[in-house]
Subunit: 720 residues, 2 copies
C-alpha cells in the first residue's frame, strides 16, 4: 500500500489515467482508501501554510455534506416533476381539462368552484375524449371510443419510451437496482450513471408509468437519484477521482432515491443499508440520513398535492435478461405487452386506475358514508355509533361484485407483471408486487370478516369478536398482504416495515407488519435464498460477492492459478527483466497485474504491479526518458546499481510497485479467503507457502469457485 | 486456519479448554468463524447418516430462532415485572393503597368505582403516609411528615441497591452499555453477563429507579436482556462453545433490550446496529428484528397498563470511573446523592414526579380542559372552535409560575445527573438527558409562543402565523429538545429518530426530529468526536477499535514488535526445538502465541501456535504419551523423521499449528493494518518482508499506537 503513496507522487506528473480502472473491471477498495488518506493528509499539511489553503481544507471537509444537499435538492425536484407529469399524462389517456390542458383531472376539478367535495371527481371543465369529440357521454359508442383512445395513448407513450431508451440510452431501461448494487460493490460500468442516462430515464419513466403498464416508478427513481449523485461527484475532485469515495456518495444517493420514491426518509436510509449498499460505514449512514431528509423536504415543497402518500411511492425491479423470441424485438415486445395490458385493463375498474390509487383504496377501511363499491355493506338501520367505529356488517351485492373483479385483477396483475419485467423501458417491481399482495389480502380480509359476522360462535372468533363489534378490518389485511408480498420478492425486513409505516402512518400496526415480514422471509427462503436483485445480478453474470456464508471445505491452494497442469505464474523479477520482456509479457497475457519476486529461483515476493500502470509507465519512459530502449533492465529495487556506460540506461519502476500486496498461505480455507475479499474489497490476493510465491487468486476466481461449489456454471461469471 | 480444522479433531479428545480464551483477553474472530464452519460441516455430513442425525441437524439450524424466541419472552417478561414493581415502589414513597398494599396509586384508584375520570388521581383507598398516620392531609405538619418519609424511603431503597450490588454482583452497576459494546467487539469479561448479574441487576434496578435518583432504567434493561441472551446461549453448544456465534446472539439481545426499554422494536434493532454492535451481518439483523418483535409483544401482554409509552421507556449511561474522594466510599456516595436528590426534588412538582411522567407532560400539548399548571392559559371567552385546534393564547399566572419551576428543575437535573452517573448502582442516561432537553425545549417553546402571540407583526412570525391561529406548539419544542439532547449525548441519528417516533407516535414530526438529530450531531462533533459510550470505553482502557478513520502516515514496521533495540522475536522452529526449550520460552515470556519458522537462519514463516494450546498439548503429552521427555524434539512438520531408538520419542504438534496466520508486509501502511484488524477481528498479525518473518503486531499494539498518534497515554490500553 505504500505503493499507493508513491503512486500519488506519480499522479502529480502529467500522466493521465494512472490509478484508474477500465470499464467492466473491479476496483481495489484498499488502494482507493489509501489514495484518499494520502490526499487528505496532503490537504491537512498544506492547510497550515496559508489562509487560502486553510479555507480550501475546510471546503474539502464540508464537500461531503454539500454534495448530499445538492443530491437531496435535485432528486427531490426530479421526483416532484415526475409525479406531476405522470398525474397529467395518466389522465390524458381518458380526457382533457378544458380550462387548462396541462391540468390533471384532480387539479382541473380542484380549481373549479362549481364542485362540492362529494362530486370532486366530476366537473364540467374535465371532459372525456368521447364527450369532447361527440358530445355523448353514456352511450356504448362513447365507451368504445374512450376505450380505443385509451389504448392508442398507451401504445403511443410506450412506443415513445422504448424508442428513446433504444436510441439514446440503453442503460436507462429496467429499474437499475441490481446494477447499482453491483456498482456499489466495486464494479465499473461506465455511462450507467451518466447525464444522458439521467435525462432519458427521467423522461421515459414518465412515459412508461403513464402508459399504464404494470410497473412501478420507485426503483427507477433510485437509479435517477444515483445519477444525480454521480453528476455532483464530478464537481469535487475528492469524489470524482476516487472510485471508493464516489461509492459512499452513491450509497447516500440511493437512500435519497427511496426517500422520494416512497416519501419515506428513514425507510430510504435503511433500504440503502439493508438492500443496496456494500460498504456502509456510520459516516455514510449519517450522510444518507441528511440526503434523505433534504430530498423528502424538497419533494414535499414541490408537490404539496401529494398528500395521498401512496401515490408518491413505488419500488421496482427489472426482469432477468434471458430473453424470449419476442425479446429480440424490444420495440415490438413493448408494443404488444402495452396493447394487451391496455385492452385487458380498461374494462375492469380495479385495473384501469393507476396501481397506486388501487393500493390506496384497498388499504382504506370503509367509513359509513364511503361510496366505493368495496364498501357496499348492508347497514344496520338503527346504527347510532360514531362513524369511525362501525361494527362488522353483512356484505351487499357491490362487495360480492367487487370480490369477483378483484380476483380477476389478481390473476391479470400476476401474469402481466411477469411479462412486463425486463422489457427495455424503465420499470419497477415494488408497486406491482404490493398490488398483488394488497388484492389478495383484501379478498382474504373480506372473507374473514363475513365469516366472523355470520359465524361468530365459531371457536376462533369466539374469544375476540363479540357480535356487533368491529373486529375484522379488511384494509389491514390488504396492508399486511402488500408487505408480505413485497417482503417475499425483495427479502427486506427492517426497511420494509419502516417503509410501510412511513407510507401509511400506521405505527400501531407495527406488530402485524413485522410478523408478516418475518413469515414471508421464512417462506420465501425455504424456496431459495436469493432475493430478486441477487437473482438478477447472477443472471447478468456480474461479479458480486454476496453475504451468504461459504461453508465448503476447500483451501486457497484448490482455487489459485496456475492449476497443476497449467504453465507457471507470469512473474517479473526485481532486477533481471528487460523492457522487452515486460512488453512481451503484456502482449501475450491479459492479466490485470503481475507479482514481482526477488528471483525466479527464490520466488520470494516483493510486490505487485498493475498491468495498466506498467503500460503507462513504459510508454511514458520510452517517450520522455532518453536511453530507455528494449533491452534496458527494469528495476523494482530501491536503488539501481551503477552500470557501465555501455549498458542501456535502466528503468526504475519502484514507484508503481505496490509493496504491500495481500497474501494468504496455501492452507488458508476458502471461507476465510471469501471473507477477506468481501470485507476488504480486494481485487486479487497472492498465495504463498513458507514465504514462497505459489499463485494468485482473483475476485473472478473466487466467484467461479463459489458458482462451481453451488453446482452452477462457473462460466456465468463474465467480468473481472 | 486449517489449523482450526485440526483443532476440532483435537477437541474431540478429552482435553478441556483448548480453543477457549482467558478472562480479559480478545477473541480471534476468524478462528471462531472457522471453528463454526467446521462444526456446521460435520453436522451436515452426519445428517445423511440417520433420521435422528437429520432431526438433530434441523434442530441445530433452528436453534438460532429458538434462542431469539426465548430471549424475547424472558426480557419482555422481566421488563414488564420491573415496570410494575417500579410503579408500586415509586408510589410507596408517598403513600399506600388500603384495599391492597401491592397496588400502585394508579391501580388503586383504577379499581375503585367511586372515582370519575377527572378525579382519577384521588380516591379514598389511596392514602398518603401523613393521612394514614395522623389523619391530617393539608397541614404543614403533614407536609413535613410526608417529606421526611419520602426522603427516608428513598434512602432505604438506594442503600439496599448499593449494598446488594457491592456484596453480590459488582458488575451489576452502571448501565452496562460501554462494557457490552466492548464485549461485542470481541473482548472477554467473565461473569459480566452471568446469572448472578442478571438477578441482582433486575432487583437493584427496581430499587434504584424507585429511589427517585436522576437515572434511567433503559440502559440497564439492555444489560439485562444481554444477560438473558447469554443465559440461553448455554443451552446450545453451537453458541456456548463459540465466542463469535455467542456475540451474534448478544447483538440481537441488545435489540430486544431497547425494544422493551422504549417499547420501540424497530428502534431497538437500529440502536443495536448503529450504537452497540461491532459485527452486524444481515442474518443478525433479521434475528434481532424477530427478538425485538417477540420482546415487545410479551411486554405488551404483561403490562397492558403501559399505554403511556413514555413510562415504558428509558436509555441510560454509566459515569466515568475516574473517581472522586467520595467515590472511594460507594455506599456513602449513593446515600449522600440520594439524600440531596430527595431533599431538593420533593418541593418542586416537576422534580418530585418520576422523570418519565415529567417528559410525558412536557411533550403533551394543552387541550382546552387541561388541568395542568403548564396549561393555565387565558382562554378567549367567545371561543367556539373544536378542542383540538386551539389558537395561541396569552399565558396565565400558572404558566409563568411553571416556567420558574421548570428553570429550577433544569439546573437541578443537569447538576444532579452529573453526580448520579457512575455511582455503583444500575443507572441509565437516556431518560435524564431527555428530561433536560425536554425542559429546555418546553421553556423555549412557551417563550416563542408568547412572542408570537404578542408580536404577530414581527417579520419572523408574519408569514406563517396569523392572529387567532394555533401556530406554535410548545409540546413539539419539548420533543425536539429531548431528541437533540439525547442525540448530543449518544451521537445516534437514525435509531434516535425511529425511537422518538415509536415512542411518541409522531410520524408527522419526522422532519423536525431529523433536523434536530443532524444539528445536535454536528454541534457535538465540533466539541469532540466521541459519544458518551466511546468516552467511557476509553476511560476504562478497554481494547475497543472504533470506526474512526486512521489517517497517520505510519507503516507496519513502525508498530511491530520487536522494536529496534529490543531482543529478537521469540519464535519456534519447525523441527529443532525441544520440549524443554518450549517450556522455558513459555515460562520466560507472557506472549499469547509464537510464530513457527522453518529455521532461525531462513526465517520463513510456517504458522502460528497459541500459548494456551501449546501448554495444554505438552501437559497432555507428558501425562499420556510415553517417551515424551524434556529433550524430545517438537515437530511442526507434516511427517516427523524416523529417529534412532536411542533418541527420545518426538512430539508431533502440527495439529495445534495454525497454518494460515495472517501476514502483512513491513511496508503496509498502518491505516490498512487498522482496517484489517477492525474488519476481520484479528488478535494478532505477523509482519514479513520478502517472505522473511520480521515481527508481530497485536491488537494491543495497534490500540497503543493509535492512542500515541492522538497524543494520549498509550499505557491507558490495559488489556490484551
Amino acid at each position: 500500500m505504500n505503493g499507493a503513496g508513491n503512486l500519488m507522487d506519480f499522479l502529480d506528473e502529467p500522466l493521465p489515467d494512472v490509478g484508474t480502472y477500465e470499464d467492466f473491471h473491479t476496483i481495489d477498495w484498499l488502494r482507493e482508501k489509501s489514495r484518499d488518506t494520502d490526499r487528505h493528509r496532503k490537504i491537512t499539511n498544506r492547510s497550515k501554510e496559508s489562509i487560502w489553503e486553510f479555507v480550501k481544507s475546510l471546503l474539502d471537509a464540508w464537500s461531503g455534506w454539500v454534495v448530499m444537499l445538492l443530491i437531496g435538492l435535485l432528486s427531490g425536484t426530479l421526483a416532484g416533476v415526475i409525479d406531476l407529469a405522470v398525474d397529467w399524462m395518466t389522465d390524458l389517456k381518458e380526457g382533457v381539462c378544458l380550462s387548462a390542458f396541462w391540468y390533471s383531472h384532480e387539479q382541473c376539478c380542484w380549481t373549479s368552484n362549481e364542485t362540492t367535495f362529494a362530486d370532486r371527481d366530476k366537473c364540467p371543465q374535465w371532459q372525456k375524449w368521447a364527450e369532447l369529440m361527440t358530445g355523448h357521454t353514456e352511450s356504448a359508442g362513447a365507451y368504445v371510443l374512450n376505450y380505443f383512445l385509451y389504448v392508442l395513448w398507451a401504445l403511443f407513450f410506450s412506443f415513445l419510451a422504448v424508442s428513446l431508451v433504444r436510441v439514446f440510452a440503453p442503460y436507462a431501461c429496467g429499474s437499475g437496482i441490481p446494477e447499482i448494487k453491483t456498482i456499489l460493490s466495486g464494479f465499473i460500468i461506465r455511462g450507467y450513471l451518466g447525464k444522458w442516462t439521467l435525462l432519458i430515464k427521467t423522461v421515459t419513466l414518465v412515459l412508461a408509468v403513464s402508459s399504464g403498464l404494470s410497473l412501478g416508478k420507485e426503483g427507477p427513481l433510485v437509479h435517477v437519484a444515483c445519477c444525480c449523485g454521480n453528476l455532483f461527484c464530478s464537481l469535487f475532485s475528492k469524489y470524482s477521482k476516487n472510485e471508493g469515495k464516489r461509492r459512499e456518495v452513491l450509497s447516500a444517493a440511493a437512500a435519497a432515491g427511496v426517500s422520494v420514491a416512497f416519501g419515506a426518509p428513514i425507510g430510504g436510509v435503511l433500504f440503502s443499508l439493508e438492500e443496496v449498499s456494500y460498504y456502509f460505514p456510520l459516516k455514510t449512514l449519517w450522510r444518507s440520513f441528511f440526503a434523505a431528509l433534504v430530498a423528502a423536504f424538497t419533494l414535499r415543497s414541490i408537490n404539496p398535492f401529494g398528500n395521498n402518500r401512496l401515490v408518491l411511492f413505488y419500488v421496482e425491479y427489472h426482469t432477468p435478461r434471458k430473453t424470449t423470441q419476442l425479446g429480440k424485438y424490444p420495440v415490438l415486445e413493448v408494443i404488444v405487452v402495452t396493447g394487451i395490458t391496455a385492452i385487458l385493463a380498461f374494462p375492469n375498474p380495479y385495473t384501469r386506475r393507476s396501481t397506486s390509487e388501487l393500493i390506496s383504496e384497498l388499504f382504506n377501511d370503509c367509513g359509513a358514508l364511503e361510496s366505493s363499491q368495496l364498501c357496499d355493506y348492508i347497514n344496520n338501520p338503527n346504527m347510532s355509533r360514531p362513524e369511525d367505529d362501525i361494527p362488522d356488517r353483512p356484505a351487499g351485492p357491490g362487495v360480492y361484485m367487487a370480490l369477483w373483479q378483484l380476483a380477476l385483477a389478481l390473476i391479470f396483475k400476476i401474469v402481466i407483471t411477469i411479462f412486463t419485467f425486463g422489457m427495455k423501458i424503465p420499470s419497477g417491481l415494488f408497486i406491482p408486487s404490493m398490488a398483488v399482495g394488497a388484492i389478495a389480502g383484501r379478498i382474504v380480509g373480506i372473507a374473514v370478516e363475513q365469516m366472523a359476522y355470520h359465524h361468530h360462535d365459531w371457536i376462533i372468533f369466539k374469544n375476540w369478536c363479540r357480535p356487533g363489534a368491529d373486529c375484522v378490518t379488511p384494509g389491514l389485511y390488504a396492508m399486511v398482504g402488500a408487505a408480505a408480498c413485497l417482503g417475499g420478492v425483495t427479502r427486506m425486513t427492517v426497511s420494509l416495515v419502516v417503509i410501510m409505516f412511513e407510507l401509511t402512518g400506521g405505527l400501531e400496526y407495527i406488530v402485524p407488519l413485522m410478523a408478516a415480514a418475518v413469515t414471508s422471509k421464512w417462506v420465501a427462503d425455504a424456496f431459495g435464498k436469493e432475493g430478486i436483485y441477487e437473482a438478477h445480478i447472477r443472471l447478468n453474470g456480474y461479479p458480486y460477492l454476496d453475504q451468504d456464508e461459504f461453508t465448503h471445505r476447500t483451501l486457497a491452494t484448490d482455487v489459485m492459478r496456475p492449476r497443476r497442469n497449467e504453465p507457471p505464474l507470469s512473474v517479473l523479477t526485481q532486477d533481471s527483466t528487460t523492457v522487452e520482456d515486460v512488453e512481451t509479457l503484456i502482449k501475450e497475457t491479459d492479466y490485470n497485474g503481475f507479482p514481482v519476486v526477488v528471483s525466479r529461483e527464490s520466488e520470494r515476493l516483493i510486490g505487485f504491479v498493475q498491468r495498466r500502470d506498467l503500460i503507462l509507465a513504459i510508454k511514458n519512459a520510452r517517450q520522455k526518458q532518453d536511453g530507455v530502449v528494449s533491452n534496458s533492465v527494469v528495476y523494482f529495487t530501491e536503488d539501481a546499481p551503477q552500470l557501465p556506460a555501455s549498458n542501456p540506461q535502466p528503468l526504475k519502476l519502484r514507484r508503481i510497485l505496490n509493496l504491500s500486496p495481500f497474501t494468504v498461505t496455501d492452507h488458508t480455507p476458502m471461507e476465510t479467503v471469501v471473507d477477506i475479499f468481501r470485507k476488504l474489497g480486494l481485487r486479487q490476493c497472492l498465495v504463498t507457502r513458507s514465504g514462497r510465491l505459489l499463485g494468485i487468486i482473483t475476485k473472478k476466481d473466487v466467484l467461479r469457485h463459489m458458482a462451481q461449489m453451488m453446482n452452477q456454471d462457473p462460466e456465468s461469471i463474465m467480468f473481472n
